[in-house]
Symmetry: C2
Subunit: 192 residues, 2 copies
């Protein structure tokens, strides 16, 4: 999606260690007009599949999921994470390792909001190693719901998440895929 | 706002200890159509003030803030919370006590995204004791930005937050104010 690629080139900030900071428009300050265009594009890309709910994970997935949900006309469910949740029989739960925060989170969704009748589109802001999406897919499988696809704003194509998910047959559509970036030159190569 | 009051009566779940669960439509599963109507109403209520940014706090404030921002045509900034953030000179920071989680969080906003030129509308899903809003106002004051008002989805009018904020001259507009609720009878009294 050219609009997003242009914005990443303009306002993205590449740091050492393959870190891309997009907190001026995506995950701290949020450009809502840009998110609207991204939401429309996700709907266009997934127009061929039935979706009954969008599933995301707190916190930075919520804005893009909520804006996109307007075009799918479905509710959003966001998985909650905590270092110490009392897991009981009322929730689906899994564990997700965060490399950013060097910590393992319990992640839960209430059983009331995912069921075997649901057709789920997973939406998140970033896909890198894919741990968050793996965890959301665990929750979907536990519920018996059907995974229709994964819609991502920015995929780091040089990390293994996207490749691994596609390899196991998951439909992953990313609005921008970065194949290489250089924190010294600032150069970013997007996948065509 | 009658639409929200009706929804709270229909799907809200009153628990002992003055707990109101609205996680079927507001803060776990999110009814985006309802949020759209709430966003429009916040714009109508605050149509007389200039707003350059909406400020909220992760996680459950993000969806209502993002949807409302479409009607104000401004970006959203969400404050980040953590039990252990490295506070450095690049952020405004404060501490917020969470009664729900019985924990004190460091809450930060990057100095890049709040400035003395900004006119801020604070948006959040709930107002009870007001600690989260107090913390956001601390960050706004630290930045020199102007607080234009606080827009809340559901205010627990029987807790002190709304009264205290209004008492110090803050304009607080809540789409639904609960003056009393009874977990045995299920009765809810809304402020007129």
């Amino acid at each position: 999606m050219k609009l997003l690629e242009d914005r990443i080139r303009k306002d993205g900030n590449i740091k050492a260690g393959n870190v891309l900071k997009v907190d001026s428009f995506l995950n701290h300050q949020i450009d809502i007009k840009l998110l609207n265009e991204m939401g429309k594009e996700l709907k266009r890309v997934f127009s061929d599949v039935e979706v009954t709910k969008i599933l995301t994970i707190e916190a930075s997935g919520i804005a893009i999921a909520a804006i996109a949900a307007q075009y799918f006309e479905v509710p959003v469910v966001f998985a909650k994470k905590s270092v110490s949740i009392n897991i009981d029989g009322s929730v689906y739960s899994t564990k997700i390792e965060s490399f950013t925060h060097k910590r393992i989170y319990d992640v839960i969704v209430s059983k009331k909001y995912l069921s075997a009748e649901d057709k789920i589109l997973v939406v998140d802001d970033f896909l890198a190693n894919g741990c968050a999406v793996d965890g959301l897919i665990d929750l979907i499988e536990e519920s018996g719901a059907q995974l229709q696809g994964v819609g991502i704003a920015i995929e780091k194509g040089f990390q293994e998440g996207g490749k691994r998910l596609r390899g196991r047959g998951v439909r992953v559509e990313s609005l921008a895929i970065i194949d290489a970036m250089n924190d010294e030159t600032g150069e970013i190569v997007f996948r065509q």
